[in-house]
Subunit: 242 residues, 6 copies
Amino acid sequence: MPRHDGRQPLDLRPLSLQRRFTRPSPGSVLVRAGGTSVICVASVSSEVPRWLQGAGRGWVTAEYNMMPGSTQPRKARDRKGNVDGRTTEIQRLIGRSLRAVCDLEALGECMITVDCDVLEADGGTRTASITGALVALVDAIATVELPDPSRYPLRDSVAAISAGIVEGECVLDLDYPEDAAATVDMNVVMTGSGRFVEIQGTGEESTFDDDELASLIKLARDGIGRITHVQQESLGADWPFG
Amino acid sequence: MPRHDGRQPLDLRPLSLQRRFTRPSPGSVLVRAGGTSVICVASVSSEVPRWLQGAGRGWVTAEYNMMPGSTQPRKARDRKGNVDGRTTEIQRLIGRSLRAVCDLEALGECMITVDCDVLEADGGTRTASITGALVALVDAIATVELPDPSRYPLRDSVAAISAGIVEGECVLDLDYPEDAAATVDMNVVMTGSGRFVEIQGTGEESTFDDDELASLIKLARDGIGRITHVQQESLGADWPFG
Amino acid sequence: MPRHDGRQPLDLRPLSLQRRFTRPSPGSVLVRAGGTSVICVASVSSEVPRWLQGAGRGWVTAEYNMMPGSTQPRKARDRKGNVDGRTTEIQRLIGRSLRAVCDLEALGECMITVDCDVLEADGGTRTASITGALVALVDAIATVELPDPSRYPLRDSVAAISAGIVEGECVLDLDYPEDAAATVDMNVVMTGSGRFVEIQGTGEESTFDDDELASLIKLARDGIGRITHVQQESLGADWPFG
Amino acid sequence: MPRHDGRQPLDLRPLSLQRRFTRPSPGSVLVRAGGTSVICVASVSSEVPRWLQGAGRGWVTAEYNMMPGSTQPRKARDRKGNVDGRTTEIQRLIGRSLRAVCDLEALGECMITVDCDVLEADGGTRTASITGALVALVDAIATVELPDPSRYPLRDSVAAISAGIVEGECVLDLDYPEDAAATVDMNVVMTGSGRFVEIQGTGEESTFDDDELASLIKLARDGIGRITHVQQESLGADWPFG
Amino acid sequence: MPRHDGRQPLDLRPLSLQRRFTRPSPGSVLVRAGGTSVICVASVSSEVPRWLQGAGRGWVTAEYNMMPGSTQPRKARDRKGNVDGRTTEIQRLIGRSLRAVCDLEALGECMITVDCDVLEADGGTRTASITGALVALVDAIATVELPDPSRYPLRDSVAAISAGIVEGECVLDLDYPEDAAATVDMNVVMTGSGRFVEIQGTGEESTFDDDELASLIKLARDGIGRITHVQQESLGADWPFG
Amino acid sequence: MPRHDGRQPLDLRPLSLQRRFTRPSPGSVLVRAGGTSVICVASVSSEVPRWLQGAGRGWVTAEYNMMPGSTQPRKARDRKGNVDGRTTEIQRLIGRSLRAVCDLEALGECMITVDCDVLEADGGTRTASITGALVALVDAIATVELPDPSRYPLRDSVAAISAGIVEGECVLDLDYPEDAAATVDMNVVMTGSGRFVEIQGTGEESTFDDDELASLIKLARDGIGRITHVQQESLGADWPFG
């Protein structure tokens, strides 16, 4: 039985990565995954956080934000200083995922911030953010004067995808209606060489067993292989990994 | 003497308006004016502010925001709840400018919010926002069920431009380096039929006289005529004014 | 090779649950797991959140907090209104975990809040919180007038534990020094009957493979069986599950 | 046709400036303009803002506030940290206006803050604030040890007034009922020698043309001449300008 | 040995009360006690706090604030939403003191807020605020339509004064230098008929004994008698008490 | 006539002090006074507040907090950054009371913070906090390396109790129902040797006379003698006073 948009269970939505989307920052990527789009902009600063000053290491962090017009009805801006829990969780996840493949000493004493601003939200915004952030990060690193040019600050690529159980079936890359209907929702972050960076599986007022867990992980692993390929094509000759 | 980017005093920067830039909201326009770009997204809600409830009138408001990657160095997000003074001033100006041409009774009891998020900041972000917001507003109004379809809720178009005195010369549409060097800075908002909506002229640690005021207004009036033409071309057959 | 505190890899720390620890609230449990202790207090209110009013369903939520004296050096209170990201993540996890076993319709229109305040923090505070919160929740539900007394509002018990990879070895129930040294950190939430509620596995500036994932899950499943037993003994005749 | 309070279009309200109104600060002026009164207090500090430290220049800034009892009904204090947009705009305008006539190098490394607290609000509070602030500033500067006593830190005086179109007629110095009824509202800040510092003209859900603009500016220029005279009389022998 | 300003231990500073100081609010009193001055403005609103709605009773509350120019160096405004502890304590004391003599049922369902804004701070600002607030309150009550005109909403007058131990001597009405030097500081609030409303005695890094307590209370009682007389003279024929 | 819980007017509620209640901090005391219980945890830090840096003196401060489950209905956490006035007043009182018996020079340059978190609130939480905080402070000081070991940093012990007038009778140590019914409420803080540290007496919408004041102080003095004895027994051989 095909999915509501005609996809098979293991089909990804059309995925594209547009580099150099804006000019002021060295890394700027527009990710589109079906009806979801995110601008990932990587900025470089020579000022590291206080607790790293003088340590000779760099830092990579991320901020996530849904723009007001990214959903219907409009999402009010957070202007009272209360960043909501979901936002905080997502931006911490993006930052951790990037750092998992970073050699922060090789980066030298600098700070890279990747801003992931969601233009259109149709499910999978956090995984699209990670996928795009990697490409923006590569472009930003190209502008950093490294302490040792022979030591590249990324050990591997990283990408992410969601999988879940919808109407009893394990499916890949859920869009918003599927996400809302899912009884189990899983986000998987993996490296280009197929190692786990992060697994987050949640029963939404529901629970799941070992077999379901295994199926979801298999789907995700397969999808991430294809996403890594899209990242590689987008960077072309600038792809820094083997 | 040509300007630092080769323009003559009364030259505008290349201006383009891309409609339907994102999908979730009915009005979505990407404005580009030289190195400045702003996404103007107009959302419609049936909930008017409390003080208007039951009054049978609508409301139009705007929010303005510079995205973190829109400048170098990166502009930190305001997440402490202290919207800075400049932001507040600008979004109040955008909202007032739109309402000056609105017939809020004709709109019926609904609320239109135009979000102006700056992707690239190279001077003139507030005037580009107003120019783009008008087009997004027209597209949003097209989706509103009006109480009286024969009474269109906009009386006229509105657009804006900056003018200023740089190195003793009156010039139009200042980019960031010019804006920083200007001794007098003026923003003018006008209707398509050439009436003033707002004039804000400021001596930056400087003052100006009647002749300089007159020259700046003349430059601005001329520029707004050309900008109105770009708005009209962008909307094509959807241009609702005579 | 034994762990730094003499435990074997699959050993839990000594775990105890002290019911009726404080008097004002119907559920109040002091959880002690080695050097970690948390007060879990469940309060009942007849006021449900706004979006549930009149729906005939209840709600269960949790708040998490580390008390200032729970660590050395003292942890400053958050009194500026910026609940930190870690706190937000943890309290969302606790709430989700409890709701995964809740039949919110059976609860009727009431709101149960479980406050988890950490008195002593030596690793595993979030998993200890979930384990204690279940017992406090059972005690609180006993004071609620249910719409249908024959329909008990919990479908199963729930408990949680951490597992991780420390110095290359998979170990259960990490204390703080182990947590700080772990390359992979996993929190598992399961029901008393052995179904997953939540899995969160994170490589800390590291990655992991399928075999490691399987080992960690096996360890956690085993530990949760023993923890469920401690919960059952603590509740004695009040244990509401088969 | 006379105005609702009997004034002719170009009449100012009775204006008085009471120096040395309070004792702790070197400059303290009570401005009364008809039913509006504002306390302008200028304080001097040796600490300049961070970005000026060591630059050998001073800084002049202003804060504006409406006291709770200044209007009916009472205006709630802003104690949630959200200074409203109108307040921000006004205090930025006052600060800019003072700095436009300041020679900040001549002031030396010190910081002057002028607090404008409105005791009674009956229209024109921002322009009364600027008019009074200049006098408080002169008194405060008299207590500053200047780096070069022969170089006075103010190049000119500054004063402000409103003009507007009420029931189709251009009038000067609007009180609150006129301000509420005006279709066009303009605030003009000028130096004692008649040069513009700032012009802000706004159509209130309305627009205006070149002739109306010219009439309003003429009215304002005339009024500011008379206001400058009141400032000069108030300072008497302490008037520092030619 | 006379005090540093020549007063004897039981001398008050010159005290004056100027009614109708500002026009928008029904009660407005400028209190001057030596170098201290406070504006006490009483506003009346028909909206009582939520918890009183429909109860047929009124409410009286107070807010206290030190204006930025009231001290040297300037006191920064609290614009981050953190009202400091001292401010909170003082405004709660003022409100409690006024309510202690209020018959809130006789007031009917209305809300009176007394704003005490300190123009000049030279010690004793909280006691001067209470003394002035009573007079502003009487003037505000005169504008309230009482449910039963034969039942006056104040049972007695109230006034306040400080006493303390300075260089071993018990003195009345401390100014700022005395307050800073005092080892014991006491604020006493009493009714016109000599009953206590509030006593707050504090050893400032010091302690005191029964005899000292008795002496301070005696001084304060005596002073309040004289202050009540000043209140009575200020209100003249409007003095509502026997 | 006995009180509602059977006590005579001068009876204290059962009072106990449990030292070493939690492990991470050097001082940790659980105070129980009838239905009220408070955890007092004293932490030591080498960082003094900025204004004390380099002064060679220490500082002692306190924070007070009611835990959410300490009352019925549940008390919402303050997570918006608005510490309420009552909390601020109480923690300032606790800190002042401890410092009144402290020799801050003898402490050397260190900072002791005593956190008083109320587990169960049944009246008298502020006085129980002071009583427990003294014991936690003694335990914390025992871990501080004093600049001069022969000079002990506490000059005396300190304890506190409430007294009040309930149904016309003066009673000691009010519980919550008595506190709510009291017309006069007094908190007294005294040293072990019987000197006043702080007296706060308040008429709750009521007033009181000299005789009532004297009776309340006598009751309190008597109660504090007995409380000091409990403190002494709790510390046993560690009691540092004569």
